[in-house]
């Protein structure tokens, strides 16, 4: 009788385990597969990708690129991502476009003289796609840094915007443009 009770308990236990899920992971595996899960403790950053300036300059745009300009100019609405240790603006952009299957092309940091990754195109919209002064710029918490995106290390809570400019930043409010000492007389 005792054996029966044990067997019944055993069966109940097994069924409970199966219902509860049998995915058993080591700590490393758990960390690896949950690295991007947002929890109350995780440090996060936000990223947006927009190209609304093109909407005002559609005549300058390559005709065959029109289909890549969303009607509201938003390619990626504000999205939150976990900030991994040492993440740069480029790392977050790369993750965001991969996870959302947005096309992106960049030149590696080694291949240009700036020593930073250079973003050539996002969503098939490239530098010079909309006039000679057009291309991708980024700002963090509203400021335009004047160095490459793979050199900008992020902090918790920062907000990145990738913005397409059609006028070397002037149309998106890049302040440094109005601030050229010695050149603006």
């Amino acid at each position: 009788m005792k054996k029966d009770i044990l067997a019944i308990l055993g069966i109940i236990l097994i069924i409970a385990v199966i219902i509860n899920g049998t995915e058993i992971q080591s700590v490393d595996e758990y960390y690896l597969t949950h690295i991007d899960d947002i929890t109350p403790e995780s440090e996060t950053v936000f990223i947006t990708i927009r190209c609304d300036t093109i909407l005002d300059n559609l005549d300058a745009l390559d005709d065959n690129l029109r289909e890549f300009v969303p009607p509201d100019g938003v390619i990626l609405p504000k999205t939150e991502y976990v900030l991994r240790n040492g993440d740069t603006v480029f790392d977050i952009l790369d993750r965001a476009v991969r996870y959302n299957k947005i096309q992106m092309e960049y030149q590696g940091a080694k291949l240009n003289s700036f020593g930073s990754v250079y973003i050539q195109g996002i969503n098939f919209l490239y530098e010079f796609s909309c006039g000679p002064l057009s291309g991708w710029m980024y700002r963090v918490d509203g400021e335009f840094p004047n160095y490459g995106c793979s050199k900008y290390e992020l902090k918790d809570g920062q907000s990145i915007e990738w913005i397409y400019t059609c006028d070397l930043g002037q149309d998106v409010g890049a302040e440094w443009f109005n601030n050229l000492g010695g050149q603006n007389k």
Binding site: G21, I24, L111, S113, L133, K151, G182, Q183
Partner: protein, 627 residues
Amino acid sequence: MKEAIKMKKVLAVFICIALIFPALNSLFAKAESVADKALEIANDVINWKKTDVGSDEGGFLLNNSLLELAGSTAGDWYPIGLSRLGKDDNFGGYLAVLKDNVEARYKEQGKLSSAKATEWHRIALAVLAAGGDPTNFGLDESGKPIDLIADGTFDRGKTTSLGRQGINGWIWGLIALDSKWYEIPESAYYTREDIIKEILRQQLSDGGFALSGRNADPDITAMVLQALSPYYNSEKRYSYTLKSTGKEVEKTVREAVDEAVECLSELQLGTGDFKSWGTENVESTDQVLVALCCLGVDPLNDERFIKNGNTLLDGILKYKMSDGGFAHSFTFDPENPAAVPNSSNSMAGEQTLYTMAALWRFENDMRALYDFRPEQSGALKERISLLETGISEITEATSGEKLTELLTAFYSLPENERSYVDGYWALSDMAKEKGIDIEQIAENTVVETFEENDGETEDVIFSESDKRAAEALPQKLTTEQYVTVTALLDKLERSKDFEGKARYLEKLSRAKAEIASVQSEIDSINSEILDKLYPYDNITLADKKTVDEIYARYEALSEYDRAKITGSDDLVKTKTKLDDIFRGIIIALVLGVVAILAAVFLCIRIRKRRRKKEREMEELAEMYKDE
């Protein structure tokens, strides 16, 4: 340029004194030292860059790690700087890898770039620097020779505007076109005049040029001067509509250039350097120095470019670092320490390197930085120098006859050599003042031809060390050997015949094909990852086979090649997730089987017990039956 003449005179006096009095040799040495100084600065940059790319001082700067950058902005300026300084380096290797790069990119849509014509221009200059021919550089997909000059300059308009990327396209297009005074065929899309006018019409009201806006940018202004310098001595008048004001203007290149030079002089800071985009930096200063050298203006002695006693060279040296390299600027951003401003930087290094080449060439009376024609013959140089002396002696009192004689001497020079006559403007101004018809003299003068100072091409020899390098290739090839194999194969193809050449050809060709297939495997894995792995949350066990396949292909790569897989961490992550799910299912199955077995066992036991009990009852019943 008046100052240039003055300086030449002073220099001539110095030289005479030095020759007469050997004791004054120190003075002579002082006058000579600018070229030495330029060379010294250049050598320091070269040694800094050698350390940067992991080459030792005795080795080549164009080593395998730099060759990997062939065809990119980070690579191409180094062979240009080195070659224009007359340095010996691994130019053959650079050319081989660059050609492979160009051939591969010509297969893509848009070829070298869909928007940036400057890709053609920079590469064409690098090809020339490394001793190649940009009009015949590799083959396109249909087997036709690639002509970087035609595709990148006069025929660029057949694809897209040369100015698609802005004024840079016109500037560098003209520089590339004039790098060897390439002839433009009748069928071309642009003429030289089109390009020159397109540049001129972008002049701003302050005399300078910029990518955008109304204020001169020193870099762009200086680059315009570099491009227009071959036309400085031309009397041709161009009519065009200014882009900024819409006004109709008629000017010679010289008039526009003089305004731009003035503008640059005004922009120079008290420390000798320049500000661009609000930041004091070395590259702007580099570009201005190159521009003055191209124009034949003595860059370190012209008063317009000395501020508080600081010359352009002082302005450049301000940015020199203790390792021999140059910093871009000293502006430090405390918000982001990851971007280090005051340490040696690649762009600052490469621009300073070729600027020193320009200065060294100017001091040695050689061709301008981007003029890749063979050096002028001694006879031609002598003629020009004689003419320059004549011009420097012009005063109000110089007779019309003398002026005509000088003009005739000027117009007897080949047209594309006339830009090397420093101070021609003084002759032109005086002749116009005296009512001399320059145009008529130009028309009536017979142009003489001068022998070209052509260098002989040497035989290429596939050396013993090349053979050893070919033998030393590992059994399993990776993209790490790409540069070595490409350079060796190219050299072998050009080399003289020797015993065993066929064997080496076969070995290296096979190696190259193998590496190409590894590269296409890398590309294919990269696009598979992009295509199949995202979004991560949608991955289910149904994708396991695909992910395992990609992972197996990834694992099959060498460690070096694996580093070229982007998103490999996502691949590992996805595989781990699926493996975990899979393992969970296996565990659940095993547990399920155990539970079923236990249940079955239990049932059997219970039934057995029941039967036993029944039997016992029956037996008991049997026993008590009789009672």
